[in-house]
């Protein structure tokens, strides 16, 4: 079974790291990942840009509405994520719209640009 490990931390604090501090943390995190990668157990890993760069598509009374930022309240849980190569935000919104149209749960899709991407090394 493949697990998604979702990392939560204070964005205020993480954003205040200097480039050197950030590099150091990232290098350490990479070190930890490396042995799992060597063992062929590591799937795709992504770090997201700050939530200020996020957009949320939400269904309100059957209509899809695009709002700024993440959907803040915790009544909905993060259920998984897609990565998609897009020329601009409109393409990403369109993709989310298509997903939302076939999703009966009526939830929301947060559209967030990926900052660092390590391609999967585990066979699908």
């Amino acid at each position: 079974m493949l697990y998604a490990i979702l990392c939560y931390a204070s964005e205020d604090v993480v954003c205040s790291w200097s480039k050197e501090q950030d590099d150091e943390v990232m290098a350490n995190l990479l070190n930890v990942q490396e042995k799992y990668a060597q063992a062929g157990r590591l799937g795709p890993v992504a770090r997201l840009l700050p939530t200020t760069a996020a957009t949320t598509l939400r269904k309100v009374k059957g209509e899809s509405v695009v709002i700024d930022g993440p959907f803040a309240e915790t009544k909905e849980q993060f259920l998984g994520f897609y990565t998609l190569e897009c020329a601009d935000l409109d393409e990403a919104v369109e993709f989310a719209r298509e997903l939302s149209e076939v999703n009966p749960s009526g939830g929301s899709y947060e559209i967030r640009p990926v900052s660092v991407y390590n391609p999967a090394r585990v066979p699908a």
Partner: protein, 424 residues
Amino acid sequence: MTELAWISNAISTARPQAMGALLRYFRDLDAAEEAFQDACLRALKNWPKNGPPRDPAAWLIFVGRNSGIDAVRKRSKQAPLPEEDQISDLEDAESDIAERLDGAHYRDDILRLLFICCHPDLPATQQIAVALRIVSGITVKQIARAFLVGESAMEQRITRAKARIADAGVPFETPGAVERSERLAAVAAMVYLIFNEGYSTNSGEAPARAPLCEEAIRLARLLLRLFQTEPEIMGLTALLLLQHARASARFDENGEIVLLEDQDRTLWSRKMIDEGLALVDKALRHQQPGPYQVQAAIAALHARAERPEDTDWTEIDLLYSLLEQMQPSPVITLNRAVAVAKVRGPEAALAMIEPLGERLSGYFHFFGLKGGLLMQLGRGEEARVAFDRAIALANTAAEAAHIRMHIDRLIKDGAAKAAAKTAR
């Protein structure tokens, strides 16, 4: 990261919120600063022992407020301070205070703290210095270094600015919607000033001044988190990120300025560009264009071009004409002329900037561009005159060196032509 680094990080992150709240309690900048300093000292003692608090800002506000009240009592009654342990049982207090902290206030607290630094009577450099000191908590020594002045001169400048702010009185009432948006605009302009103070520099000074750019980006991000749906704040943050992304490509190893088209684009920070582009995309969806968004959109077109020749100059020309309408200024017309030269040729660009000569008679970039356009048109003598004027007006050694390079090329071309003539 060491424990000390972690603590200083947590404190500097919490600073704007904590200082903003303490200013609201004490209604006096000095009292708020003193209370905050005291809370920081206690944090350094307490946090390593008891572990980091869940909400560092709430902790600092609570402890700072207690210590500030103690200080006031001490001054009025000269009564001895209670023992440290008795002041507050912080373990219990923390969970309690976190709930009581008025979340609705905190946005206006930070905005107020930034806004009082933008007092219109203060010259721009003083606004910046005082904001860096009060809001960002940067030491006077570091600020002095960034401004290339002595520490005591900077200390005086900041003290004078703070006295001016105190005289003016701090606006404590909760702002209405119109006031809030006016404050936000003033604060955004100041953040942009901080950035420019760090950006317009030459390579020798770049290491000392780069922290100003980083601080401006941090403040812009802070504003954006407080005002997530403001397209102009998205634009401002994007603009700063997209410009700063080029930082390591702007100077060559000899410290000479590298023009945008000659920069090694692989040195541009992809991470900052990605964030900047995402914010531009987000902002444009609001369809409420403003000057920061337009400038960010221009920077985005440069960032999106993998090679200089891929740059969409037609779109840049269009965006500059939009910016000219929003903020008519000869400098913007001058920038537009650069795009016009690419799209319609040097003659059209020259015609566009000729009328600006009088108003920009003291502006380095005017003569730099004029000389460049004349050179492209083969009018070497006139180009030489414009370049000489540019050198006289250069603000930095790097600017002068860059123009000298053009002059050398003119001289070489001239010599080559003369040689060709003689050969014939």
